[in-house]
């Protein structure tokens, strides 16, 4: 009962304050602005990529008649999918390549990161709903809450409250509840309005669930800051000092920790340079069949084995076109090598993210940042999922061409061609993105840690309140 009374009283006094009204107004304006910017960004990027994908496929279908293997060299483009929730949190979107060229024999790197086309000043930040909720909203809480307990102490109320037999725990929970309600009064409308991007007809249901989880993550994160504000407010005697201390914490958690942790992670688990990466790939490639080099060591070995298997003495007496066969064997080897090294790279990224998750002990911002990206599909895993799918498609498409070469062309016939009808019948790139289960699996660690932060900070708050001195 006391809890409810305290909460009601707290809420009432906060809402009445001018600083709540001003801060809420400013924050709402920024949030509205961020939604407007994000909406346009998302809608135009989505349109661009859908259109580009259509054109690229059209170009493939209508290419000039050519040999299937020449078509493999001609190649085609696929474009990074744009997920509905990227309007809310762009995550790493601007820092990953948007276009991927698929061709025979090699796995290319995605090109054209959006950030590269912007000047250096774009590095100073973009206004997105995630930025407003993750970086600015905590400040709002600090401004509301810094004197929650110091204020009571300074005007002598704390002594009265404790003398009346109010349990410190009740004080903490009540104050937390009151503050929490004040936060919710702004955060809930934000999150509701923020779901506007999901209203498009083609949005799958899973994105609603993802958004629900994201919203929950942000609320828990804001709850962490409510706890922090209460703790500092209880520990520090003067409201001024509490404010400065909380602002210092915010700078440390939201500004310094993410960059510092990312730098540290990169030095601790360095990613390879291009030359060492390519060298390793090349070394592995050489230990297998090269479709364009029938006289190579591994090609010869494969030749011996195949001839023996079919009981013939030369490759032109094989029941299929040896060129197409060896081309496909080479492709299979190449893609195995490429994917192996990509996976190794992803493992390094995961180690780096492990550092970020450890550093989250210092900053819940890192956790909400990771969770939000992972749920929005603008994180490293989702991106790699796309790259892997594109690679799989590349192998299938090239496989289709090699298979045609193997079965329908004579050995040594490089002049024979295929026409548009054939190319139009080739497999199309259809990619859905990771499903909800995968997204949940990836984002679970950071979500769990975030919940842990909330509970732990609450627990510490209770402990500290137990020892509170009235003056």
């Amino acid at each position: 009962m006391t809890v409810i009374t305290i909460a009601r009283q707290e809420l009432r006094s906060i809402v009445r304050e001018r600083r709540f009204q001003v801060a809420a107004l400013v924050l709402s304006a920024l949030f509205a602005l961020s939604l407007y910017g994000a909406w346009d960004y998302y809608a135009s990027l989505k349109r661009q990529h859908t259109e580009a994908a259509r054109i690229a496929r059209n170009q493939w279908d209508n290419q000039e008649p050519k040999n299937p293997h020449s078509a493999a060299h001609y190649g085609t483009y696929v474009f990074k999918p744009v997920y509905p929730l990227s309007f809310f949190d762009r995550g790493i979107d601007a820092f990953t390549g948007n276009t991927l060229f698929l061709e025979g024999h090699r796995m290319n790197e995605a090109q054209h990161r959006a950030i590269a086309d912007r000047g250096e000043l774009a590095r100073l930040g973009v206004l997105t709903p995630a930025f407003v909720l993750g970086i600015l909203f905590p400040l709002f809480i600090i401004v509301l809450a810094f004197n929650t307990i110091t204020g009571e102490r300074e005007n002598g109320n704390l002594r009265l409250l404790l003398a009346q037999g109010v349990q410190p725990a009740a004080l903490f929970v009540g104050k937390g509840l009151g503050l929490g309600l004040a936060v919710l009064s702004l955060a809930l409308p934000f999150l509701l309005v923020g779901s506007v991007g999901l209203l498009l007809p083609e949005v799958e249901q899973q994105h609603w669930i993802r958004y629900g989880l994201m919203a929950l993550a942000y609320l828990v994160y804001l709850g962490c800051f409510v706890h922090l504000a209460l703790i500092v407010s209880a520990l520090v005697r003067r409201a001024n000092v509490a404010l400065v201390a909380l602002l210092g914490l915010w700078i440390l958690m939201c500004l310094i920790a993410p960059k510092a942790a990312a730098e540290y992670a990169a030095w601790k688990y360095p990613t390879p340079t291009r030359q060492s990466y390519q060298k390793a790939v090349k070394k592995d490639l050489e230990e297998g069949v090269d479709g364009h080099d029938p006289s190579g060591e591994y090609s010869k070995k494969l030749e011996q084995e195949t001839l023996k298997q079919y009981g013939v003495s030369t490759v032109d007496s094989l029941p299929f076109n040896w060129d197409g066969f060896i081309m496909q064997k080479g492709e299979e080897h190449e893609t195995y090598v490429f994917q192996k090294h990509k996976d190794k790279l992803l493992a390094i990224y995961q180690q780096q993210q492990g550092v970020l998750e450890t550093a989250a002990l210092l900053s819940p911002y890192l956790l909400v940042n990771l969770s939000s990206q992972r749920l929005a599909g603008t994180d490293v895993h989702t991106y790699h999922n796309f790259l892997a799918a594109a690679e799989k498609y590349r192998v299938e498409l090239i496989g289709e061409l090699n298979n045609d070469l193997m079965l329908n062309f004579k050995y040594g016939d490089w002049k024979g061609t295929r026409d548009r009808a054939f190319f139009a019948s080739n497999k199309k790139f259809e990619y859905e993105g990771p499903d909800l289960v995968q997204a949940w699996r990836v984002s679970r660690p950071s979500l769990v840690l975030l919940a842990g932060w909330y509970l732990l900070s609450g627990f510490i708050g209770l402990l500290i309140l137990q020892r509170i001195k009235p003056v």
């Binding site: 580009a52 990161r113 912007r118 000043l121 973009v126 602002l247 310094i256 942790a261």
Partner: protein
Amino acid sequence: MFALQLQYEWKHLLRSPVSWLLILFLGAAMAFGAYNGRKHVTHRQASIAELQQAQAEKFTALATEADSIIKGLKKTDRWWLDPTNPLAIGALRRGGGTLVLKPTPEQALATGMSDLQPEAFILRIGEQHPHNSSDYDNPARLALGAFDLAFVIVYLLPLFVIAFTYNLLSGEREQGTLALLLSQPVEARQVFVFKLVARFVWLSLLIAVLWWPAAAWAGIPASVTAQALGVALLYNLFWFLLSLAINLTWQQGSAFNALAGIGAWLMLVVIMPAVVNMLAEKARPVPSRASYENDLRELDNQLEKERPALLDAYYAANPQLERKPDEEKTSRDLWLESFYIGDILKERASRVKAEYNEKVQHHADLVRQLMLLSPALAVYDRLTALAGTNRATQLAIQTQLEAKEHKWSEWFKSRYIANQPLSSADYPVIQAMVAPLEQKPAAYDHRGLLWLCVHLVLAVLPMALLRRQAAVLI
């Protein structure tokens, strides 16, 4: 008396544990920023040295092999591996020359766009292919941004200044020393002005003392260190004036001043840059690179269709060459044709590229105009210009690169056309064509500095307006 004030302010500074904490904080941040900047540059240098060495070894081996082939000591049955064949070295994927971009030590100052910049380009006939290690960098790390010296100046320095100035006047009043000060037999305004100047002098000196060793450790050349310090001190002056204006305008308590200072910082340093980028995105959107790729591809297709007509023109212009039916064309005929078609393609592609680049430039121009909205943007702009990690420097490098690629292409093409095999004597010439490019910072247009001065004037203005009020207060 000014000396006395200086002395007093110095003692005041030394005796407060909070100021020590702040100094420690700024010093540590600068050290970490310097460490990261330094590491960034040395990492790049190491990777480039590796590339250069590999290339030197490769060319030496090729030169020796070419020598043996010419002397008839060695035979080669694979033309694409033959070091005397201009195409094998100048045009094929296995060949090509690696032109490295040497990072300058001043890059340690501000990462800017350098974390996406390729460390080298591979030149082949008609193309320059980026050799980019950042393809393998964790994009999540890139997105979180670098903790470099520029970050310390742009983001953390204002906080440091606010912490030292928020109670400049309000503190005196709150401690009760203001009344004492006013009862002294000296003119109050003079005391007051001296106090401000003394505080500013110490603050600037502190920044300089912390800055110099950090920048030196990062390996930044002294002239750039000095210029960057100049910018930092102007920025310091801006925040000092702003904090003072807050002190004078509202004449509230220290807590209010601190909050207003942080509010101003939040608005100018955190929110404004984000808003500026958003506005520029709206007003002058950057064109889609997805459609750019499709457009380039469309050019390819178009050229494929026009090929017979283009070849008619080619053979008409070169009557000395015999035009054969497609089945009888030798690889030499096809290569010569491809040089011709390649030039046309390049010319047309450069038009498409220019069209896109122009739009990108429009966007960048607008962002730089909007620098007026925040001194943080102006300072960052100046620092990246000093470091040579801004867009302007990248564009300058791109121009140099195109010239190098052109030279490379023409040289190899002429050798092939003239049927002159490469000899070991040619390899030093080839190597000279891919001599490293220095990433010298591009010329600076002073717009950022200009805007910063405008900000300074804007920060002084309220004080001039408030002279009367200030007089009352004092």
